[in-house]
């Protein structure tokens, strides 16, 4: 049985099936991310004054990832143009670039996640706070038994609120050094995971969902670049439609990041 309108558009809508399908899917995706952006607004406005973080993420890394995604958007559209112009070699080249850029994005994002999961805020017994990246723990380190010691590369502050705005002018001149802290001096030790702060909770939720979309999109594009490209020989028009549909999804992924970047990294 042949399905109609797989390649040729319907006369009334002017669209082939997959194109209408991907736009309907993207509409649902807008609402999915919209709900999470709405949650972000409520969490941010509901935070205690001065307790919403600024400058916890590396702006330069975020900018690099933005450039990677924007570049992947044009390589995707150029892959589709190549298909339209019946230039199969150029299509393979541009889509290979897209896959490489997608992998670069995920690698950079993984580095950022690793950076956060090795970053600790330590509440000291004297009421002060130590903050920094883990260097090492002694083998006998056990916070519950109060044995051993931990070394971080960071700094110490009097109040937790001083850790919130790392973009303020004074924060840029903080001298970070290796601090070795005995377990007996530690009241609480928590890494910068989603549980540490509502900002990190929404940061990990939004970026992990976005990264999931990047990985899924890269898998689809990888399929079209690899085994799926066999269709080029038998039905190039239908294959071109597939490239267009996957490209629409990829541009949407780029679109979401265009808003995530300023919201999470800069504001």
């Amino acid at each position: 049985m042949d399905f109609p309108y797989i390649v040729e558009p319907r006369r009334d809508t002017g669209l082939y099936n997959a194109k209408l399908g991907i736009w309907l899917f993207l509409a649902s995706e807008v609402m999915l991310f919209g709900a999470l952006f709405s949650a972000y607004v409520l969490l941010r406005v509901g935070a205690e004054p001065g307790m919403w973080p600024h400058g916890w993420l590396n702006v330069y890394i975020g900018t690099a990832n933005t450039i990677v995604l924007i570049t992947s958007s044009i390589t995707t559209v150029m892959a589709w143009v190549s298909c339209k112009l019946r230039q199969y070699g150029r299509f393979k080249f541009f889509h290979a670039l897209t896959i490489l850029l997608a992998m670069t994005f995920v690698c950079i994002k993984s580095y950022e996640y690793h950076d956060k999961f090795t970053h600790y805020e330590i509440t000291l017994a004297n009421g002060k706070f130590a903050d920094g990246h883990l260097v090492e723990r002694s083998k006998d380190f056990d916070l519950a038994k109060k044995t051993g010691r931990v070394t971080i590369h960071g700094h110490e502050v009097e109040h937790e609120v001083e850790l919130m705005d790392m973009q303020r002018p004074e924060a840029r001149h903080i001298q970070r050094e290796e601090l070795t802290i005995p377990a007996t001096d530690i009241k609480k030790m928590e890494r910068y995971g989603p549980w540490h702060h509502t900002y990190l909770a929404i940061y990990f939720t939004l970026t992990a969902l976005h990264a999931f979309h990047v990985i899924c999109g890269a898998l689809v594009i990888g399929f079209l670049w690899g085994p799926g490209s066999r269709m080029w020989k038998t039905d190039p028009e239908r294959f071109t439609n597939r490239v267009e549909v996957s490209g629409l999804f990829w541009h949407f992924v780029d679109l979401i990041w265009i808003f995530l970047f300023p919201v999470l990294y800069l504001l």
Binding site: G14, S38, L42, T63, H251, L267
Partner: protein, 113 residues
């Protein structure tokens, strides 16, 4: 954009002549990214203004992606219909979110320390 971004039987635009347009959009997106970062380090007087500036630049970038990379500027009525509904519900969602922050709104939740 150039006039090559025209309809191709009601589908995506003819690609052969629109490559220059895509490159222009790409450069504009890169410039927008650097502008966003630069503007974030400028103190406009209040954080609200900084947020408005960043979101305005992001909206322009989003328009470029949707209009030209996704070809929405030359799409069929059916797609406009789908995205029109989406825009309506998205605006409603954000509108309700902002409205809920007002003390006079019916859904306002008093802050519990």
């Amino acid at each position: 954009m150039n006039n090559s971004m025209t309809m191709n039987d009601g589908r995506a635009p003819e690609p052969a002549h629109s490559v220059r347009g895509y490159i222009f959009v790409f450069i504009a997106l890169l410039a927008g990214t650097f502008l966003t970062v630069w503007a974030s380090f400028i103190q406009f007087g209040s954080r609200e203004i900084n947020i408005a500036v960043a979101l305005a630049i992001a909206s322009v970038k989003a328009f470029l992606v949707v209009a030209y990379f996704m070809h929405l500027i030359s799409e069929r009525k059916m797609i406009y219909c789908v995205m029109g509904f989406t825009a309506f519900f998205f605006a409603g969602l954000m509108g309700l979110t902002i409205w809920s922050l007002s003390p006079n709104s019916l859904v306002h939740m008093p802050h519990v320390p």
